[in-house]
């Protein structure tokens, strides 16, 4: 079936796949429908934040650092204050709580970023003062008149340079330029099975290095907010945020006021793509309204959106695969560097997400990852469409092609051979379900005119998974590398629970038992059937039922968390 955009096969619903898993008699799901907000869009009436007019609206613009990294000796706002139309100039001293980290609302990470920097700036474009004036042009002119006595510091723009000894410290609280995970390690670890051993036993070892540059979300509507005094000592705030309660919580924290005094109105977002979660506009706009008693708008122009709007961060990945001659991947090792830019924002969380995704949608019995959230003197990075996943997926899929070439297999078949199937154990110790990679790969092959072998054509996500492929590794090699002292501060870390001691157990399986359909005459799995008592790690069902770690908070999406 095609969708309504009938001018080409843009969307094709393949209802032949997983047909018995779906109810096609639903009223809305599975049917093309009009967006509920689209009448407003086509008539030009949808109320974006800037479509709210206020009499006496003031305009706020920031004075920004021209340097990648610099100490502030002195900020002189007196000339700016005397400029025509200027109502007020704010500096860090005016901000009630001038240090924040976005994920502090989720109890994750240390406050690291000033709203208006007072001592030091760590990226080009970092705001040091905010000018509020009668017109935009006046605010612009006055912002240019803010004088800062800078002491330019050495800067670092590359992730691997930044973690070398002697690199300039971007943030004083993370002197090694690395975020501290769980209060313990300078990187996020994934340990599943024994990668080094499996690599030693593999027929081929395939290595690769992959890099993705930062990507600007570039919404057509730039980020902004308008705040105005309301009755009953409250403030209304119209905002372009894509995470209203996130912004509300952040504003309440930064302004040190109960959120009940803040009336946030949003929901009509001119494109966000992740770039509108950072909540940097609302606190300043509201503070402006508080201090002037008038409506204040703080919105970026296009140049600011591009320069200081937080992008999807750059990533660099090193991948080493152990591959058997028949194409089964038996080990995958990652070293990853996320470029957080100058402040944490959402990068620390992106890595948690990303590591949960490793090794990609493939059943690989031995996986190891060390992923670093690295600070550099670049624009801070934040969310963007699948962030944490996209960059490493690019690396993984490029690497899959390299592996296919090495073993002389068609790249689509390599993917089908190694794909997750329902019931397989994943490296983050949960069972795979609702898998569909095999079917996607088969359809892609069909569309691209790639001929698959009969076995690959017959493969299915529903078959040949689970069983021995559902088992956890007998032995997982763990280590204390990257141990950091003195970082017990975050309560996230406390929720992480204690160390599970390194276990000693039988050697790892060399490979996941091959899926029967794809390999007509597999070597007999050499392991005895596992007995539950012999397992060093709990079965997944137990793991999920066990009251999860003491805090019981799990991230579910950017805008919140859920209890398990």
């Amino acid at each position: 079936m095609r969708d309504m955009t009938s001018d080409g096969p843009m969307v094709e619903f393949r209802k032949d796949l997983f047909a018995d898993e779906r109810d096609d008699n639903l009223n809305e799901v599975g049917k093309p429908t009009r967006r509920q907000d689209i009448l407003g869009h086509v008539t030009g009436r949808s109320p974006f934040f800037d479509d709210h007019l206020f009499d006496g609206l003031l305009h706020l613009r920031c004075a920004r650092s021209p340097h990648h990294h610099a100490r502030i000796r002195r900020i002189d706002t007196s000339a700016a204050e005397r400029m025509p139309g200027v109502v007020r100039v704010l500096t860090g001293r005016d901000v009630p709580v001038n240090l924040n980290t976005l994920l502090s609302l989720l109890d994750f990470g240390l406050d690291d970023e000033p709203i208006l920097s007072e001592n030091k700036t760590a990226y080009r474009g970092e705001p040091v003062a905010a000018v509020i004036a009668e017109t935009e042009a006046q605010a612009r002119a006055a912002a240019a008149a803010v004088q800062v006595d800078w002491e330019v510091l050495p800067h670092v723009l590359d992730v691997e340079e930044a973690i070398k000894p002697g690199a300039p410290a971007v943030l004083e609280i993370y002197p090694e330029n690395k975020f501290v995970y769980h209060g313990k390690y300078d990187h996020q670890k994934l340990r599943y099975g024994d990668v080094d051993r499996a690599l030693a036993e593999a027929d081929h070892v395939v290595e690769g290095r992959y890099q993705m540059s930062p990507i600007e979300q570039a919404p057509i509507e730039t980020c902004g907010a308008i705040a105005a005094p309301e009755q009953n000592d409250r403030y209304v705030c119209y905002t372009s945020t894509q995470a209203l309660f996130f912004s509300l919580g952040t504003a309440a924290k930064v302004l040190s006021m109960p959120s009940s005094r803040l009336h946030f109105i949003g929901g009509t977002v001119g494109g966000g793509f992740g770039g509108k979660v950072d909540s940097v506009h609302e606190p300043l706009a509201i503070l402006g309204a508080m201090l002037t008693g008038r409506p204040v708008k703080y919105a970026w122009d296009r140049a600011e959106e591009m320069q200081v709007g937080a992008p999807r961060g750059a990533e660099r990945w090193y991948i080493t695969d152990g591959v058997m001659a028949d194409g089964r991947i038996v080990a995958r090792k990652f070293t990853g560097y996320f470029d957080a830019g100058a402040y944490t924002r959402l990068s620390s969380y992106a890595i948690i997400k990303g590591v949960g995704h490793l090794p990609g949608p493939y059943t690989i019995p031995n996986v190891h990852a060390d992923v670093y959230c690295v600070y550099t003197n670049r624009t801070p990075a934040t969310a963007m469409r699948g962030f944490g996943i996209t960059g490493v997926d690019f690396a993984i899929e490029a690497h899959m092609d390299k592996v296919a070439e090495t073993v002389g297999l068609n790249p689509v078949e390599l993917r089908i051979l190694n794909a997750y199937r329902d019931g397989d154990m994943k490296a983050h110790r949960r069972l795979a379900k609702n898998c569909a990679l095999i079917e996607c790969a088969q359809v892609v092959a069909e569309k691209a005119g790639v001929t698959l072998s009969p076995q690959m054509k017959a493969a299915s996500s529903l078959r040949d998974g689970g069983g021995a492929r559902a088992e956890l590794p007998r032995h997982t090699a763990t280590d204390q590398e990257g141990r950091v002292e003195g970082f017990t501060a975050t309560s996230y870390a406390r929720k992480g629970g204690g160390d599970s001691p390194p276990t000693t157990a039988p050697p790892p399986r060399p490979a996941s038992p091959p899926p029967a359909a794809s390999r007509p005459s597999p070597p007999a799995p050499s392991q005895p059937a596992p007995s539950a008592s012999a397992r060093p790690e709990p079965a997944p069902e137990q793991a999920t039922k066990k009251p999860a770690r003491s805090g019981a908070m799990r991230f579910s999406s950017l805008s919140g968390f859920r209890r398990r």
């Binding site: 001018d7 093309p32 689209i38 979300q217 057509i220 509507e221 009509t268 001119g270 122009d301």
Partner: protein
């Protein structure tokens, strides 16, 4: 600062307001005239969200001096519908999912309307060309192109 009185026609109705010196038409329409349908995306001429017509030609309101529309005929997306009767393009955009966030939509519709007014049966390439000055970050353009073509073909059949 001396303001300049500007009298012009907006979507067929006479309007008058005061423009600041150097003020662009986008600001003027939105703040001073109260037509919020053209949007600010860049102020640099690159995004097309501010597209309006001036005497029937598409212009970028952010690059037009407000006072230069004195005596001229300005058209915006607010004027596409006749009362409750939507323009066929508006209907087609709704049917084809040609707007997600909706921020580019008003400008996109103006460019599409201008195309169909001078060329009721455009080819796909002509449609692509006609909206090449309008950026959309959400849709990937295909639904927009399909929507415009559907109206063009509809006309051709009528």
């Amino acid at each position: 600062m001396a303001k300049t009185p500007v009298s012009f026609t907006l979507n067929g109705s006479p309007r008058a307001a005061f423009a600041d010196p150097g003020q662009n038409l986008l600001e003027f329409l939105r703040r001073d005239v109260g037509d919020l349908s053209p949007k600010f995306g860049c102020g640099q001429g690159t995004c097309g969200a501010c597209t309006v017509t001036v005497d029937g030609e598409t212009h970028l309101a952010c690059l037009v001096l407000a006072q230069t529309v004195e005596g001229r005929d300005v058209g915006t997306a607010s004027g596409l519908a006749r009362g409750a009767q939507l323009d066929p393009l508006q209907e087609a955009f709704m049917d084809h999912f040609a707007a997600q966030c909706g921020y580019c939509t008003a400008g996109m519709l103006i460019s599409a309307r201008a195309l169909l007014d001078r060329n009721p049966r455009p080819t796909r390439d002509e449609v692509v060309e006609a909206i090449s000055g309008n950026l959309c970050r959400c849709t990937g353009y295909e639904p927009i192109i399909a929507a415009i073509l559907s109206v063009a073909e509809g006309r051709a059949r009528a």
